[in-house]
């Protein structure tokens, strides 16, 4: 027979004592493992939330860019370069510029190293009487986009209106039931309808777009333009617009720059605000996640030591009770030759088994509690390291708590015990 058999038999005999000790260890281990699991879960959830918020910020940024592109394209331009002597008040009142600039300005601007503007569109435009139809219209000549020398070619935002063709606004084609391919005559010049715009509710509805050179001829404004549009400028903020003005002033000192498309800017600002809100939400998510983790750590800092100390005291009590219960047994075992070391082994062997059982049960319980309280998580929280720690720590805790009572039991004088009978 070996001492291990004695240990096992004693456990079987005093099973309640064993179970109570295992429960004590399990509670301590469960508290530890549940806390660790919940902290791990918090970190994972926090990271998931941050990733989600980051994606939202990214999406918001992308949406902003898309919206900006759509808005600027829809409104036609962002800034307009006008002649220095253009009366801005009259321009706003009339809706069209009245002064002209040399067409060469466009080339100068295109060849300049300005990087803050995109898509240069020279136009010549004037309110005229459509003699054949007796209607006031806006005749606009455009040549499409002027390539910028220092840029890679980009897809033009507005296509060139070919010579002999005309693009009509809603109020020009709809009353006359004109369609692409129809022939019309504007002030003696025959033109073929290239495209009919849908209603926009702006001056565009009474605008006829023709080729720039053709418009210059029709209006008697050869080699002149009265506005240069710059589309999709990097002017999402007011400060940026000021920068654009400064840069254009250096290249074309005899001009003035007006901001167009305030709606676009307002929406861009709104989108910027949305993006900033998303970014703030990301920061808030990070802070909230950290707060949750800190809160769980704070709880664990209190709960785990309490559970460990409580469990330790509980095992000490049980071990003391067990040692007292086994006093006679220890006396006779010592009398028949067992050394004090053997008696220590008897108690500590049991303590180790208590620790192993408590560690395993406590880990399982703690894991279930931890995952249960953490809510759904996309990944497993099982950590083999913590299982090993539980299986090492719990026997150590149990053995440490049993050590003193075991030492007292082992140092009992068998003669004293036997004389008590």
């Amino acid at each position: 027979m070996k001492i291990s058999r004695l240990v096992v038999q004693e456990i079987a005999h005093r099973f309640l004592n064993f179970v109570l000790a295992v429960v004590g260890v399990s509670i301590a281990v469960a508290c530890l493992v549940a806390s660790v699991t919940m902290i791990d879960a918090g970190e994972i959830q926090s990271k998931e939330l941050v990733v989600k918020r980051q994606q939202e910020v990214k999406d918001a940024g992308k949406k902003l860019n898309d919206e900006m592109r759509k808005i600027t394209k829809g409104l036609g331009f962002n800034i307009v370069v006008l002649s220095e002597d253009e009366d801005i008040a009259a321009f706003h009142a009339e809706g069209t510029p009245t002064r002209t600039m040399p067409q060469e300005y466009v080339t100068r601007l295109a060849n300049s190293p300005i990087v803050v503007i995109n898509h240069l569109l020279p136009i010549v435009t004037k309110k005229i009487e459509w003699a054949e139809e007796k209607q006031k219209i806006v005749l606009t000549g455009t040549r499409g986009e002027v390539p910028q020398a220092h840029r890679d070619p980009k897809k033009p935002l507005l296509k060139l209106v070919p010579e002999g063709k005309v693009v009509l606004g809603f109020r020009l084609h709809e009353p006359r039931k004109l369609k692409p391919g129809s022939k019309i005559v504007i002030n003696g010049r025959e033109l073929e309808v290239a495209k009919c715009h849908a209603e926009r509710g702006t001056v565009d509805d009474v605008t006829a777009w023709v080729n720039l050179e053709e418009a210059q001829q029709m209006l008697g404004m050869q080699n002149l333009v009265n506005a240069i549009l710059a589309l999709e400028c990097n002017c999402a903020t007011a400060d940026r617009l000021a920068e654009i003005r400064g840069e254009i002033a250096k290249v074309l000192p005899g001009t003035q720059v007006l901001e167009r498309g305030r709606k676009a800017l307002a929406r861009a600002e709104a989108r910027n605000k949305a993006k900033k809100t998303a970014e703030a939400s990301l920061v808030a998510a990070e802070e909230s996640g950290q707060q949750m983790i800190n809160s769980r750590k704070a709880q664990a800092n209190v709960l785990v030591p309490l559970a460990v100390v409580g469990s330790f005291a509980w095992i000490v009590l049980l071990a003391v009770g067990n040692a007292r219960q086994r006093r006679n047994e220890i006396g006779i075992l010592r009398a028949i030759g067992l050394g004090s070391r053997d008696v220590l082994v008897l108690f500590l062997g049991k303590a180790l088994l208590v620790g192993l059982a408590g560690g395993a049960i406590g880990y399982a319980a703690g894991y279930l509690i931890g995952t249960g309280f953490s809510g759904p998580i996309g990944q497993s929280l099982f950590d083999v390291d913590w299982l090993l720690i539980a299986l090492l720590l719990a026997p150590a805790l149990s053995a440490a708590a049993t050590w003193l009572p075991a030492l007292v039991a082992a140092s009992q004088d068998p003669a004293v015990i036997l004389q008590e009978q």
């Binding site: 027979m1 001492i3 038999q9 028949i336 030759g337 067992l338 050394g339 003669a415």
Partner: protein, 231 residues
């Protein structure tokens, strides 16, 4: 002499003054001898037995078992010495409550690790009529059976000496006889028995009687009696 207690004195610390339990007592037991120590309660019988068993160090005097002073050995060596040389039997049996009969008998083998112990334990269980009780725990046994288990345990390591403290104190006549006969048989086979008892029948079994009174040797019967058959 197998057991030699020479001028043993042992006292305990009392509340007011030390209590002398055994004072200058000398007893010796040879191989094949069965010696009974008698006397009134508190006369020092059990103390003398524990001193003889290497469990209680005397204040003065010399103890030798087969020429070895157990108190000259380290605690661990003395424990092993007890396991190999001495068998103990007590009035309260002192069986391990959670071990069955066979495991209780085998308990002394925890120390010696003797591979033959299992076989001897089974033989002893059969010899003491416990064959049908092998799997029972002490709580399921009668007092007579418990004492027989204790006797079997005492004999497992084939000791040279059996020290018995009131082994018949809780037993009826029949069971007492059985225990005493077993002790006698042990002595007949060359062992030495030192029996502490109040029981006159047990004294009658012994070959020699030592009477203690007030911790002192009051009387010691002479040489071994030749015939026990009358009992």
């Amino acid at each position: 002499m197998l057991i030699s207690l020479d001028h043993i004195t042992k006292s305990y610390t009392g509340d007011v003054e030390d209590v002398v339990a055994v004072a200058d007592v000398s007893v010796s037991v040879d191989s094949g001898e069965f010696v009974a120590v008698v006397g009134p309660s508190g006369c020092g019988k059990t103390t003398l037995l524990l001193v003889a068993g290497g469990l209680l160090s005397p204040d003065s005097g010399e103890v030798t078992l087969d020429g070895t002073d157990p108190y000259s050995l380290s605690q661990e060596k003395r424990a092993r010495f007890r396991a190999e040389r001495i068998g103990f039997v007590f009035q309260q049996f002192h069986l391990v409550p959670y071990l069955n009969v066979l495991d209780n008998v085998l308990a002394p083998a925890l120390v010696t690790g003797d591979p033959e112990a299992g076989k001897r334990a089974e033989e002893l269980v059969q010899r003491f009529g416990l064959g049908d009780r092998v799997g029972h725990r002490p709580g399921q046994l009668s007092t007579g059976e418990r004492q027989r288990v204790a006797l079997a345990r005492a004999l497992l390591n084939e000791p040279q000496v059996i020290l018995a403290d009131e082994p018949t104190g809780n037993l009826d006549g029949e069971n007492s006889d059985e225990v005493l006969k077993a002790l006698q048989a042990f002595a007949d086979q060359g062992g030495a028995v030192l029996l502490v008892t109040h029981d006159p029948d047990a004294v009658a079994f012994a070959g020699r009687k030592v009477v203690l009174a007030g911790g002192r040797l009051a009387e010691m019967s002479p040489a071994p009696t030749p015939d026990h058959d009358a009992f």
